[in-house]
């Protein structure tokens, strides 16, 4: 049994109490949101009686379903592309040395520290100018739409994925890769059988982060969306103007459940995959098994 040098006695109890308070804080609006999704009243703050009508309406509402579909398409494509690019970037920055690496390093951090609004503005101006040039040079008229949203999301997600994966890469021992090379593995084999499985939790974490950021983005999406490309958060933002009804709550609850299922599944997969690699590669596991 592992023994940690942790807080004892009263400090332990205080910490536990603090943790409970924080969890209550975190879940208070969620609980409210879930409860009111079953509210029969149009008004979000006055409770009348329980009913499932908003869930029914949600599936019948074309706009909501359309926005949901857009959100999912954008999020999935953006996450996939940015995970691949971000992982590659992380490996390149962390494991290699070359000219311009420092500058690229800085550039890779910028999307993280830039405020939403600036990012949105940048891309707005960029698409404005770029479409203009394209039009005057070739006569092809591009418009904003789902594709521009996806491009925008990838732009900021690459950096977030890279940061998470880099943290993971930095953690594991290069010696393992060298050992594989000593055993005559080619680079690709080393990557596939040693590096990738070891950084997999980091990649998964980065992908998860990218998915979350993409699904929730309002500001950037608003500025670069076009006709018929409303995503769910932007739709909710607009709905605010028309009066918030429990329909939004119902949509949120469904999305919440969907995310939970998604994460549950991915964690389950991670556990079985990473479980095998954990042996002998993480000191804490060795320690665990030895004591």
């Amino acid at each position: 049994m592992k023994e940690r040098t942790g807080p004892q006695g009263i400090v332990e109890r205080l910490l536990a109490a603090n943790a409970i308070v924080v969890y209550v804080f975190l879940y208070a609006p969620i609980v409210l949101l879930v409860i009111f999704s079953f509210n029969d009243n149009n008004n979000v703050s006055i409770w009348t009686e329980p009913s499932l009508r908003w869930y029914g309406e949600m599936f019948r509402n074309d706009e909501v379903m359309g926005a949901l579909r857009n959100s999912l398409v954008v999020a999935l494509v953006a996450t996939a592309v940015s995970t691949v690019l971000g992982t590659a970037l992380a490996i390149s920055l962390e494991r290699y040395r070359y000219r311009g690496r420092g500058t690229l390093d800085g550039l890779a951090y910028l999307p993280i520290i830039i405020p939403d609004v600036t990012m949105a503005v940048m891309l707005l101006i960029f698409f404005f100018q770029a479409f203009g040039i394209l039009d005057s040079l070739t006569g092809i008229r591009l418009t904003t739409g789902l594709h521009t949203i996806i491009l925008a999301h990838i732009a900021f997600n690459i950096s977030f994925v890279a940061v998470v994966v880099r943290a993971r890469i930095a953690q594991f021992d290069e010696a393992l890769e060298e050992a594989a090379a000593d055993l005559y593995a080619t680079r690709w084999q080393t990557f596939r059988k040693v590096t990738l499985p070891l950084i997999a939790p980091g990649v998964a974490g980065g992908a998860l982060l990218a998915l979350t950021l993409s699904l929730d983005d309002v500001v950037v999406t608003q500025f670069v969306s076009g006709a018929g490309s409303t995503t769910l958060p932007v739709y909710v933002f607009g709905l605010v103007r028309r009066g918030v009804t429990p329909l939004i709550n119902a949509v949120s609850v469904v999305m919440l459940l969907a995310s939970m299922v998604l994460v549950g599944v991915s964690l389950g997969l991670q556990r079985s995959a990473a479980g095998r690699q954990k042996v002998l590669t993480e000191p804490s596991v060795v320690y665990e098994r030895a004591t």
């Binding site: 592992k2 940690r4 040098t5 942790g6 807080p7 400090v11 205080l14 910490l15 536990a16 603090n18 924080v22 969890y23 804080f25 975190l26 208070a28 609006p29 969620i30 409210l32 949101l33 009111f36 979000v44 703050s45 690019l85 590659a88 970037l89 490996i91 390149s92 920055l93 290699y96 040395r97 070359y98 311009g100 690229l104 550039l107 910028l110 520290i113 830039i114 405020p115 609004v117 600036t118 503005v121 940048m122 891309l123 101006i125 960029f126 925008a152 990838i154 732009a155 690459i158 929730d216 958060p233 909710v236 933002f237 605010v240 918030v244 939004i248 709550n249 949120s252 999305m255 919440l256």
Partner: protein, 292 residues
């Protein structure tokens, strides 16, 4: 690796090949970032020197420094200071609330740890606006807080539309960004060092102060950056929970692109804010590096 003698030329050749490979691996991502990030950024910079037509459209002639001169207006400085202070307070509150919390989670067993972490993240998979609107209900005159105070015999309190409401909203929104890095840093701690401190007769608090806290500094730095930056540009939460009663930087910038239709000035503002954040981030990193 076997056979031929390793000469300096061969080594250099291998190094260069290695370098090139590294560059190539990272090139799709860097090309993407240059095209969709660096160039737009420079465009914003260029726009900040442009001028505004009388109907509010941007005219790419008459390059001038007017927008930058306006940055020194008392109004702009006041808005900036207010946003900065709010971001600082949000970060501080987040840190104070998250550290004990992250510490608690990190000192649980492995299975429980992961469950607790996931429980932290779940609320954030619901839509951000809906969560914020839920807070609006909770903090309103008929909300939970008000009802509790009425049950205790007091009057109905409306926290909504006050600065504390904005703070609550911001802290709520960025808590995981503080908790996760802190957790990562604390979890990776070499606890034998703490044990060693205790063996040398340090009490719990001293051991914490002199060993645990400094060692978890990278997490504190990372978390603070991840909370401070978005707080500085936040405007949706303050608008919904604070009643838009004060003007913050994010709102002001957006209004330049919308209501005022003054893109050059909006660009100058965006660029200036980003520049300040960059400096702050670099300084903070240096501070973080020194304690390692």
């Amino acid at each position: 690796m076997t056979g031929a003698p390793v000469t300096p030329e061969l080594e250099k050749g291998a190094e260069r090949a290695e370098s090139r490979r590294g560059f190539l691996i990272g090139s799709p991502a860097s090309a993407y970032l240059v095209l969709f990030f660096a160039i737009p950024l420079v465009l914003v910079f260029v726009y900040s020197f442009a001028s505004r037509s009388s109907t509010g459209l941007t005219v790419l002639e008459d390059w001038n420094l007017d927008s930058y001169r306006r940055l020194l207006d008392p109004l702009v400085v006041e808005i900036f200071v207010r946003s900065f202070v709010l971001a600082l307070i949000t970060t501080a509150v987040c840190l104070l609330a998250s550290y004990p919390f992250a510490y608690y989670i990190a000192t649980r067993g492995p299975g429980l740890r992961n469950v607790l972490l996931i429980l932290v993240m779940i609320p954030f998979w619901s839509n951000f606006l809906v969560r914020t609107y839920a807070w609006r209900v909770l903090l309103g005159s008929d909300g939970v807080i008000s009802q509790i105070s009425q049950a205790l015999g007091g009057e109905s309190i409306r926290v909504l539309f006050t600065p504390p409401a904005v703070l609550i909203g911001l802290v709520y929104g960025y808590l995981p960004f503080m908790v996760l890095p802190l957790y990562a840093a604390i979890e990776r701690l070499d606890w034998s060092l703490v044990e060693a401190a205790r063996d040398l007769y340090a009490d719990g608090w001293t051991a914490f102060r002199k060993v645990t806290l400094p060692l978890s500094m990278p997490g504190i730095v990372a978390g603070s950056i991840l909370v401070f930056i978005p707080s500085l540009g936040a405007y949706v939460t303050p608008a919904i929970l604070g009643g838009a009663r004060t003007v913050l930087m994010g709102d002001y910038i957006v209004s330049q692109f919308l209501a005022a239709r003054n893109w050059p000035f909006g660009s100058a503002l965006s660029f200036a804010v980003m520049f300040v954040m960059l400096i702050a981030a670099m300084l903070y990193f240096r501070a973080g590096a020194r304690t390692l």
